[in-house]
């Protein structure tokens, strides 16, 4: 098995220390793009195992944690080396809601898949989303929320984007355990996801990226 394949299997099996050691080793031998690709393959497997009911949320949280540790190792090189990105996602938990465990998992999975993610935190008011869209010009705006009242905040955020003439310049995806088709229609989003893997897949679709 090549070193990269070993990373994929250690990461997918959630063997934290082994994964970290292998990534350290790989850093000296491989271009960043290939290490990222291994991470993407690993998180794909984690996602599949979750969908099949072999992994549970505790495993997703842990996978996110491992990926963040990997990112820390890659960061110094990320500043020097260009990696290709699929697109930019501006992500935040909407006003009135402070849940962020799910948002952070989605962020890790999206980054592993090759998106650049700008995370603007929790309890983010609509106006702050508007300003961040102007500043970062993302391809996608991702709104996270777990409270029922977050659905209304999502709507107000999307309305604020409309009012500023920004709605047509971005795709909007909403996510979190309580969003559904109703919520998508009510808020005027382009897509909804209640799982990170579904979310990543939809983000690719929204940008017309083929698997």
């Amino acid at each position: 098995m090549s070193l990269l394949d070993e990373i994929v299997s250690a990461f997918a099996d959630l063997d934290e220390e082994r994964t970290i050691n292998l990534v350290k080793e790989a850093l000296e031998k491989y271009p960043l793009n290939e290490i990222f690709d291994a991470c993407r393959r690993a998180t794909d497997i984690v996602g599949e195992r979750y969908e099949r009911g072999e992994y549970f949320l505790s495993e997703l949280v842990y996978a996110g944690h491992i990926f963040n540790r990997i990112l820390e190792l890659l960061l110094p090189r990320l500043e020097r080396e260009r990696v290709s990105i699929l697109g930019t996602i501006l992500l935040g938990t909407v006003e009135g809601d402070v849940h962020d465990i799910g948002k952070n998992i989605f962020k890790a999975f999206a980054e592993a898949a090759g998106f650049k993610v700008i995370d603007i935190g929790v309890d983010v008011p609509p106006q702050k989303f508007v300003e961040a869209v102007k500043e970062h010009k993302p391809d996608i705006v991702g709104l996270s929320g777990l409270l029922t009242l977050a659905i209304d905040s999502m709507k107000r955020t999307i309305d604020a984007l409309k009012a500023e003439g920004l709605r047509d310049k971005v795709k909007v995806i909403i996510g979190g355990g309580r969003v559904d088709e109703y919520a998508k229609n009510y808020t005027g989003a382009d897509a909804w996801a209640d799982s990170a893997t579904k979310g990543v897949k939809l983000c690719k679709e929204l940008l017309g990226i083929k698997e």
Binding site: S58, Y62, D152, Y182
Partner: protein, 412 residues
């Protein structure tokens, strides 16, 4: 309304609930519609800041909404969050209820770090107060915790979690505790009078009188944060297990009244997160033990199975029949009812997102279809699967009430 009328109504509502819990068909399906604090404040025309910081206004808002949106269960009389100190006082029943809830004024006094409030950290009309939790115990402190959980919580966690109690034994800390107790007294008087007024509207006092948490959830909510516990489960499962066992030996709970405990509320948080391996080692044995031992003392548990509990529905059958009420949030109540038929009373069924967006007739149709499937045989209480937020069109809430009266009747 005559004096006896409201007693009759209360009696009728209580009978309805009791029948459902005991798997007899009541006259109609009992209804529980938890309106959240923001909804009540808006309907009465005040901000949530006013609601949380002025008990009199809160009382009026609750009475108004309980009148205009009648259901079988009384509204929650706990106007606040969970006060950590309350968990430490269960051996002092003569004062414990004073610290049963963390109210807005109490937050001002104790300056806790685990909640945020409208008009304080939040805008004056934010949807609700927010419980945010916190990491008040470090990952390397499990041994100290296990040695003596209540001592560790009282001496290390409480000072870390409340700014006013940062220096235990200081005049500032003593003053804060005394002021908090006086505030608690005011609050208890308020809940007593609220319960009396609700009785005049025909509401039985059917609320849980205490609250406890499964040890792992206690670690997640108040000590290590939820992501923290999940990492600990990977990195030091033995320590986590020891901590759960230590908590179990002297299970902390908060009481809300000076009367003897009659039923206890247990909200579950980590259930949905855990793989079967973790669930059956770190969660279920404790939950089962808690429910069974309360049951043996004649105390009924109200368990909120948050998230998707599908993977573990069957295990509920290991509990003694009629142990209490299982409230489901994201789990399909149709499925739950089928599996738990004749064993556990199921509550839930209406997602609040439906009420946010549908028309009243769509709501009615949804309730009709649902009831058709789940009402036969009793053992079912219709409820929204989460509190109804302020933005919900009130006519949709009324539509649920009408639909139950129309389609939830077992016999005329």
């Amino acid at each position: 309304m005559h004096y006896t009328d409201f007693e009759d109504i209360a009696e009728q509502r209580l009978r309805r609930i009791e029948a459902a819990i005991n798997f007899r068909e009541p006259d109609r399906v009992p209804l529980n519609l938890p309106l959240d604090f923001g909804f009540r404040a808006r309907w009465y025309g005040i901000t949530t800041y006013e609601f949380f910081f002025d008990y009199e206004k809160a009382k009026k808002a609750i009475i108004k909404t309980a009148t205009d949106f009648p259901t079988d269960f009384p509204p929650s009389t706990i106007i606040g969050s969970g006060l950590l100190i309350g968990f430490l006082l269960k051996d002092y029943p003569e004062i414990a209820p004073l610290f049963g809830a963390l109210t807005g004024p109490m937050h001002d006094i104790l300056r806790d770090k685990y909640t945020r409030w409208p008009g304080r950290e939040l805008s004056p009309n934010a949807g609700s107060f927010q419980f945010i939790g916190g990491e008040f115990m470090r990952a390397d402190e499990y041994d100290k915790f296990v040695e003596n959980p209540s001592e560790f919580m009282a001496e290390v966690v409480v000072p870390r979690a409340h700014q006013s109690l940062e220096r235990p034994g200081s005049a500032e800390a003593m003053a804060a505790l005394i002021r908090a107790a006086l505030e608690g007294l005011k609050y208890i008087k308020f809940t007593d009078s609220l319960i009396n007024e609700l009785a005049k509207l025909g509401y039985p006092s059917a609320n849980a009188t205490a609250l406890t948490l499964v040890p792992l959830d206690f670690l997640g909510d108040y000590l290590r944060t939820i992501p923290g516990v999940l990492l600990d489960l990977r990195r030091k499962p033995d320590k986590v297990k020891e901590a759960c066992d230590a908590l179990m030996k002297n299970l902390p709970y908060r009481t809300f009244t000076f009367k003897p405990i009659s039923s206890i509320m247990i909200p579950l948080h980590l259930n949905e997160y855990l793989s079967p391996k973790l669930y059956y080692e770190f969660y279920w044995p404790y939950l089962k033990n808690i429910i069974t031992s309360f049951y043996n003392r004649g105390i009924r548990c109200h368990v909120a199975f948050e998230g998707r509990h599908d993977a573990y529905l069957e295990s509920i059958l290991e509990l003694p029949k009629g142990w209490g009420v299982a409230f489901f949030e994201k789990t399909d109540v149709r499925k739950a009812k089928k599996i738990l038929e004749g064993h556990t009373c199921v509550m839930g069924g209406v997602p609040p997102t439906l009420l946010l967006n549908a028309t009243p007739s769509e709501v009615e149709e949804y309730v009709r279809k649902l009831l058709e499937e789940v009402m036969p045989g009793g053992g079912f209480i219709l409820a929204t699967s989460a509190p109804i937020p302020a933005e919900t069109p009130p006519e949709n809430v009324k539509s649920v009430i009408r639909a139950v009266e129309k389609y939830g009747v077992y016999r005329r």
